[in-house]
Amino acid sequence: MSVRFGVVRFPGTCDEIDALRACAAVGDAELLWHGDADIKDVDVVVIPGGFSYGDYLRVGALARFSPVMGEVAKFAAAGGPVLGICNGFQVLCESGLLPGALLPNLSLRFVCKEVDLVAATSRTPFTSGIAVGETLNVPAKHRCGRYYVPDAQLAELKANDQILFRYADGQNPNGSIDDIAGVCNEAGNVVGLMPHPEHAVDALLGSIDGLRLFDSAAKAQAVPA
């Protein structure tokens, strides 16, 4: 049986169709509506990019009150794999499911470019098929992508192997601390990153490196035959 992915749609989400396509390339995929306290027994939850709730107050701050997020939190607490991309990463940070916060880019500009990501851990379901040190080429597009944690917490992230990806040397597009592009929770089942693997799943668009995160998750969740 193939792995079932659920992609959450909030008011203001805009990357859910690309995320669905990426998931459908490696398993079954369906949309989850933010207003339903139901994640339909999926095996993997993806919180895609966009501008949930218009980015009002702070990016990601309001989406955590959507009924679906209570179910996502329970799923995450039970060890279920959750991937937050861009605004999804911001939502997971504001929800307390991931450490840190995303601040406006140092340039104050909306960044839209391909970046090289260097894998920093293989211990999450989404990076289980990616070796530490491997480089993935994936687009980044955001205005609030500057990852921040206080220094003491940064040391904890390093000690606990919670850094997922770093921008390759000289490619940090937003001023993120320690060139961090993505992190995971301590258990490793909840991950978030600013660049968009779901936009890099078709050779026609320049890179299929992003597919590896979805493929890794599908393989990690597959029930042995």
Partner: protein, 81 residues
Amino acid sequence: MARARVLIRPKTGILDPQGEAVERALPALGFGGATDVRIGRLVELEVDDAAHLDQMCARLLANPLIEDYEIELLDSVASAA
């Protein structure tokens, strides 16, 4: 009912590129000598119970990881009832 004003600021040590951009723009208008420009948010609200304000700030109005907040109680509003 109480009327309150909450001032939310980027924490000391957090780079504020908005503040820096404004600081660089002021001399263009002929205003030299403005430094340490920091940009935050102002939230005005009326609350039934002012004792809730601190938790409102800590849990939603501000993100304590990156922002400091300051609650100012303005006055009590006569009940409309």
